[in-house]
C-alpha cells in the first residue's frame, strides 16, 4: 500500500514537471503579449506585472497593423479548406469503396506529399506563379496549399469512410439507387462527423502553414505569421508586438485542437492511427 502511494506521488511529480516544461513557454509567451514594454526588459525575468492590452490595441485597433494579415489568414485558410473538401471527399469515397487499379500507389503518393520535404516545391512554385502572372496573390497561395491539404483530407476522410457500416449502402444499391444518390442521401449524412473533423484539421493545417507564404506572399497577401517578421529589425525586435500577433495566431488552432480532443491523434497521423 505504501509503495503504491509513493509510486503515484512519483507519477504525479513526473507529469507535473513535464506540464511545466510543455505549458510554461506558452504561458511565458502569452504573458509577454500582455506586458507593459518596460516590464519586458526586467532581469531576472518576472511573472509579476500589470497586464496591459496596449499591444493588442496596436495590432488590432489603433492603427490596426495586423488586421489585413489576420483577414488574409482567415480568407486563405477558409478558402483552401473549402475548395479541397468536395474534391477530397469524392476521392476518399472512391478510394474507400471501390477496387481501383493503382490504389496503393495513389495513396502512397499522397502520403509522400504529406511527409516529403516541402522546400523542394518552393522554387518551382515561385517561378510557376510568376509565369502565370498570379505571383503574390492570395489565389496562388490557396492553389499551392492544396498540395498538402488535399492529400491530408483524403487520408483522413478515407479513415472515417472505412469505418462506416456498408449494409445501408448495399441495401440502397439493391433497391436500385445509383452511386451518386447513395452518396448524397446516405454516405454524406452518415459521415458528417468525419467531414466536420476533417474540415477543422484542414483549416488548422493551412492556417499553420508558413513555408508557402514566406516565399509566395507579398505585403498584400501576407498572413498573420508572416507579418511578425516585419517586427524584427537590425536594431532589435519589438517583442511585445511579436508576442501579441503570435498569440492570436496560436489561440485559434489551439482552441480547435482542444475541442477535437479525442480526434487529435487521428488527425495528426492523417487517419492512420485511430486513437
Amino acid at each position: 500500500m505504501k509503495k503504491s502511494k509513493l509510486k503515484s506521488f512519483g507519477i504525479y511529480f513526473f507529469i507535473f514537471s513535464f506540464l511545466v516544461f510543455f505549458v510554461g513557454p506558452i504561458v511565458w509567451f502569452f504573458a509577454l503579449a500582455l506586458r507593459p514594454p518596460e516590464s519586458a526588459f526586467q532581469y531576472p525575468p518576472t511573472l509579476i506585472f500589470k497586464p496591459t492590452l496596449e499591444q493588442f490595441n496596436f495590432i488590432l485597433v489603433e492603427p490596426g497593423n495586423s488586421l489585413l494579415q489576420l483577414f488574409n489568414s482567415v480568407f486563405i485558410s477558409v478558402s483552401a479548406t473549402l475548395i479541397n473538401l468536395p474534391l477530397s471527399f469524392l476521392a476518399a469515397y472512391a478510394l474507400s469503396r471501390f477496387r481501383i487499379r493503382g490504389k496503393q500507389i495513389i495513396l502512397g503518393w499522397y502520403l509522400g506529399l504529406l511527409m516529403g520535404p516541402v522546400v523542394v516545391f518552393l522554387i518551382p512554385y515561385f517561378i510557376l506563379m510568376n509565369n502565370l502572372g498570379i505571383a503574390g496573390s492570395k489565389l496562388s497561395l490557396i492553389l499551392v496549399l492544396q498540395v498538402i491539404t488535399i492529400p491530408f483530407s483524403i487520408w483522413l476522410l478515407k479513415s472515417f469512410l472505412d469505418e462506416l457500416p456498408l449494409e445501408i449502402e448495399e441495401a440502397a444499391q439493391i433497391d436500385g439507387a445509383g452511386t451518386w444518390k447513395i452518396l448524397s442521401a446516405i454516405t454524406i449524412p452518415l459521415c458528417r462527423p468525419g467531414i466536420i473533423i476533417t474540415t477543422m484539421f484542414a483549416f488548422v493545417f493551412t492556417w499553420n502553414n508558413v513555408i508557402f507564404p514566406i516565399i509566395l506572399a507579398n505585403s498584400d497577401s501576407a498572413t498573420l505569421q508572416i507579418g511578425v517578421f516585419s517586427f524584427f529589425s537590425s536594431s532589435g525586435a519589438q517583442w511585445g508586438v511579436i508576442a501579441a500577433i503570435s498569440s492570436i495566431a496560436i489561440i485559434i488552432p489551439m482552441l480547435i485542437f482542444l475541442s477535437l480532443d479525442k480526434y487529435v491523434v487521428r488527425g495528426l497521423t492523417f487517419g492512420s492511427v485511430k486513437g
Binding site: 503515484s8 507519477i11 504525479y12 513526473f14 506540464l19 510543455f22 505549458v23 513557454p25 506558452i26 509567451f29 509577454l32 526586467q42 532581469y43 531576472p44 525575468p45 479541397n84 469524392l90 476521392a91 469503396r97 471501390f98 481501383i100 496503393q104 495513396l107 503518393w109 499522397y110 502520403l111 509522400g112 511527409m115 516529403g116 520535404p117 523542394v120 516545391f121 522554387i123 518551382p124 512554385y125 510557376l128 499551392v144 498540395v147 488535399i150 492529400p151 452511386t179 499553420n208 502553414n209 508558413v210 513555408i211 516565399i215 525586435a237 511579436i242 495566431a249 496560436i250 488552432p253 489551439m254 480547435i256 485542437f257 487529435v264 491523434v265 495528426l268 497521423t269 492512420s272 492511427v273
Partner: protein, 291 residues
C-alpha cells in the same frame, strides 16, 4: 450499378490537380539540374551544363555539412522525443486521477505553427532577459559568449530543444492512445509470467503497439529530416554552416542566392536520399503492412 468509370470520375479532379502540382516541380528540378541558371541574371535557363550543377552542389554548397546536421537532428531528435514520449505515455496510462486533464494540456504545443515556436524560443534564448540564459545561470551552466544559438558546439542541441518541446507530446499522446488500447488481460498475463517494469514495456507493450509506433516514427523521422522553420527563425544556418539542414541549404541556394540550376540538382539529391530512407525504413519495419 456502379459504372466502370464512376470511381475514376470521383478521383480525377483531385488527382489531376495534385498531378500538376507534383509533376511540374519534379520536371522543373530534373530539367534545370542540367542547366546553368541564375535568376538574378536571367529569367530563363541559360545553357546546358551537363552534370556541372551536381558537381557544384558537392564542391561549393555545404551539402555534406547540411546532410550531417540533418541526420544528427533527425536521429537525436527522434530518440529523445520517442523515449520521453513513451515515458510520459506510460505515466499517463497509470489510471490515476486528473491525468486526463494533463493529457489535454499536452495537446497545446502541437497546435502551434513551428515558425511561432521558433519566435517563442528566440525570445527565450534572448541574451538580454531571456528565460533560458537566466535558467542556465541559475543552474550554474555556463552560457557561451555568443549564446547557445551562436556557438558551434551548442547550436544543434539548442535548435533541437524547441522541436523536442513541440513534438514529444505528439509521441506521448499517440503512444498513450495505443497503450490504453492494449488489453489488460495481456498485461496481467505477462505480469504473472514474471515480466515487470522495463521488460514488460520492451517485450510485451511495444511489440503490441508496434503497428502504431512504426507509423508515428516514420512521420516524425520525415518531419525532422525536413527541418526548416526553426533554422529559418532561430539561426539562419549559423554560426557558419553549423546548423544548416538540407532543407535550409536548398532554400538558401534557390531563393537567396537564386542559383536555380544548383538548387535543382540539390532537390534531386535530397529526393533520392529521402526515398532511400523511406525505402529502407519500410523494408525493415513495415513489411507486409498495407496502406
Amino acid at each position: 450499378m456502379v459504372r466502370k468509370w464512376t470511381p475514376w470520375l470521383m478521383i480525377a479532379p483531385s488527382f489531376l490537380f495534385l498531378f500538376v502540382l507534383t509533376a511540374y516541380p519534379l520536371y522543373f528540378a530534373l530539367k534545370n539540374s542540367f542547366y546553368y541558371w541564375n535568376l538574378q541574371t536571367s529569367p530563363v535557363p541559360l545553357q546546358f551544363v551537363g552534370l556541372e550543377n551536381f558537381r557544384n552542389v558537392f564542391s561549393y554548397t555545404p551539402f555534406f555539412v547540411s546532410l550531417r546536421n540533418t541526420l544528427i537532428i533527425t536521429l537525436v531528435g527522434l530518440t529523445i522525443e520517442f523515449s520521453l514520449g513513451l515515458m510520459i505515455a506510460l505515466a499517463l496510462s497509470s489510471r490515476l486521477k486528473y491525468l486526463n486533464f494533463a493529457r489535454a494540456l499536452l495537446i497545446m504545443p502541437i497546435t502551434i505553427a513551428p515558425i511561432i515556436v521558433g519566435f517563442m524560443f528566440r525570445y527565450m534564448y534572448w541574451d538580454i532577459v531571456g528565460l533560458i540564459p537566466w535558467l542556465a545561470e541559475s543552474l550554474n551552466i555556463p552560457e557561451p559568449e555568443a549564446g547557445f544559438l551562436g556557438t558551434p558546439a551548442t547550436v544543434l542541441p539548442a535548435l533541437l530543444l524547441p522541436d523536442i518541446w513541440q513534438w514529444t507530446p505528439f509521441f506521448a499522446l499517440i503512444m498513450y492512445a495505443a497503450i490504453i488500447g492494449v488489453s489488460s488481460d495481456l498485461i496481467e498475463a505477462a505480469k504473472i509470467d514474471g515480466a515487470g517494469g522495463i521488460r514488460l514495456v520492451w517485450s510485451v507493450l511495444l511489440p503490441t503497439i508496434k503497428p502504431v509506433v512504426v507509423v508515428v516514427v516514420l512521420l516524425q523521422l520525415m518531419r525532422l529530416f525536413n527541418t526548416f522553420d526553426l533554422v529559418y527563425v532561430l539561426t539562419n544556418g549559423g554560426p557558419g554552416d553549423y546548423s544548416r539542414t538540407l532543407s535550409y541549404s536548398l532554400f538558401r541556394e534557390g531563393l537567396i542566392n537564386f542559383n536555380i540550376g544548383v538548387a535543382a540538382a540539390m532537390t534531386i539529391l535530397i529526393l533520392i536520399i529521402v526515398n532511400i530512407i523511406v525505402f529502407i525504413y519500410t523494408k525493415i519495419f513495415m513489411r507486409g503492412m498495407k496502406l
